[in-house]
């Protein structure tokens, strides 16, 4: 890049690369810019599988991964790869022993998310990373939901590939990154071919403004992480206490091993679409099939063993840096008004 403006842009991109790398204990040259975690997941999962396909075609993952991983793996199945889909325990946790039992001599990749996007459960990625390193299996972690919320150290966790996105950490939409281990090197076949940017792994002109935004957002999130998490956890606990008092509610996912800002709750005796419409003044999302346009209730909650009614009547509450006590009180008050109203209309009687 010869001219002054180009050098300026390059310096900003490299500063952001260092900011993102520092947040996950990585070297800057291991960060590849992408359009978001969906592209990062695609590049990681398909890239490794296709690169190592001649050595083996077996992959281990779980049923509760994000759709970006699930559907990338389904594509690989169509290409002749075999995927071991692990079913988590009813608390949403995939036990490292399950991963160990599923590993085979021809396993090339294990892909496991750090924090589940629907239920907030934290997976023990460090234990799985140890296993993978011992067996020489590449380990990919989708960290879209955990960056800036939990400590991440790709060295201590033995992670080979890690997907990140800016907008989950209050950064701009449309920018993400993939950490790719260089020592020992991870072989990846690119998805996008062109001018050979990003070490040939992701061609295309870099979106400087987006990248700068991601660098700043991730650095800020990491700096504020502990203070933010403690405050958000207190708000989440207050929300849960308020919801639990309504009665006939079930917490989805492990009670303790969860990220601070997510609470997923199912309500007995209430239909999901009506619940969401009744709560339209709140920013909540449901597992209801109707509202998402999907044919089935949340596949994550179904994998945890919830029946259709409870999977459909689930609400996901997201709390963050800008959530206040008043927001929590309004949410509790609204749910405490509407859930009993809908139950009465439905003739539901708690047993």
């Amino acid at each position: 890049m010869g001219h002054e403006y180009g050098r300026g842009a390059r310096a900003l991109v490299e500063k952001a690369r260092a900011q993102v790398a520092a947040a996950i204990g990585a070297r800057p040259e291991c960060i590849i810019w992408t359009s978001g975690a969906t592209e990062s997941d695609n590049l990681a999962v398909k890239g490794v599988a296709r690169f190592r396909g001649d050595r083996g075609r077996h992959i281990v993952s779980s049923r509760t991964e994000h759709k970006a991983v699930v559907n990338s793996l389904k594509q690989l199945e169509r290409e002749g790869f075999e995927v071991a889909w692990l079913t988590p325990a009813t608390d949403g946790c995939v036990h490292p022993d399950q991963v160990e039992a599923a590993l085979r001599p021809d396993t090339q990749l294990v892909s496991l998310m750090h924090v589940n996007n629907e239920i907030g459960v934290i997976q023990d990625v460090a234990a799985v990373g140890r296993l993978c390193r011992e067996r020489g299996v590449t380990f990919h972690v989708d960290a879209a939901q955990s960056a800036g919320k939990l400590p991440i150290d790709v060295e201590a966790m033995n992670v080979d590939l890690l997907s990140l996105t800016a907008h989950k950490a209050y950064g701009p939409k449309g920018i993400g990154a993939l950490y790719v281990r260089r020592q020992p090197p991870v072989g990846l076949r690119p998805l996008i071919h062109g001018g050979g940017q990003e070490s040939g792994l992701r061609s295309g002109t870099l979106a400087t403004h987006q990248i700068v935004g991601m660098g700043a957002a991730i650095e800020l999130a990491e700096r504020e992480r502990e203070v933010d998490a403690a405050r958000i956890r207190r708000l989440r606990d207050r929300l849960w206490e308020g919801l639990r008092a309504i009665g006939g509610v079930a917490l989805n996912g492990a009670a303790e091993q969860r990220v601070a800002g997510l609470l997923n709750v199912s309500f007995y005796g209430v239909e999901g679409e009506s619940l969401q419409f009744a709560l339209r003044e709140l920013a909540v999302s449901t597992g209801s099939a109707c509202s998402s346009g999907a044919e089935e209730a949340s596949y994550v909650l179904r994998a945890l063993g919830r029946d259709d009614q409870l999977a459909q009547s689930s609400l996901r509450f997201s709390l963050g840096r800008f959530t206040t006590d008043r927001d929590v009180d309004v949410a509790v008050r609204t749910v405490a008004r509407e859930v009993p109203r809908l139950r009465e209309i439905g003739g539901w009687a708690a047993s």
Binding site: F277, I345, G347
Partner: protein
């Protein structure tokens, strides 16, 4: 979430349903139910009969806003109805009145089943008394 996918009548009935609940059992009270929670809709209709007409009707509905609105709307139409009106009733009336989208019409068929069950109960009651 806006109210865009629901008509004004659906929003009105959902927010302030007419005749919710269940009539207490009595010699002139009939019940008709259909559906279950696993299918996404359950209706329980109850009606008190006087002089060959429905004197009052109530509903319980588990389901989407269209279901709740349709059942509420139905009860306002049932008052004064005769047995023949119940046997003739079609889900299309509710679909038209409330502007229910095509993908929800299967649920209105469950409501029609509940109306038919109510009609059967009425006929059975008549035969018992004959």
């Amino acid at each position: 979430m806006s109210t865009g996918q629901y008509s004004a009548s659906v929003v009105e009935h959902f927010g302030r349903p007419h005749n919710p609940g269940r009539l207490p059992e009595g010699p002139d009270v009939l019940y008709g139910t259909a559906g279950d929670e696993s299918h996404g809709a359950r209706f329980a209709l109850s009606a008190r009969i006087a002089a060959g007409r429905i004197a009052e009707a109530r509903f319980e509905a588990y389901g989407c806003p269209h279901c709740i609105a349709a059942a509420s709307w139905l009860t306002t139409r049932l008052t004064g109805a005769a047995l023949e009106d119940l046997e003739r009733w079609s889900w299309r009336e509710a679909a038209t009145a409330l502007d229910v989208p095509a993908e929800k019409r299967g649920r209105l068929l469950i409501l029609e089943d509940a109306v038919r069950a109510l009609a059967r109960a009425w006929r059975d009651l008549g035969e018992l008394r004959a």
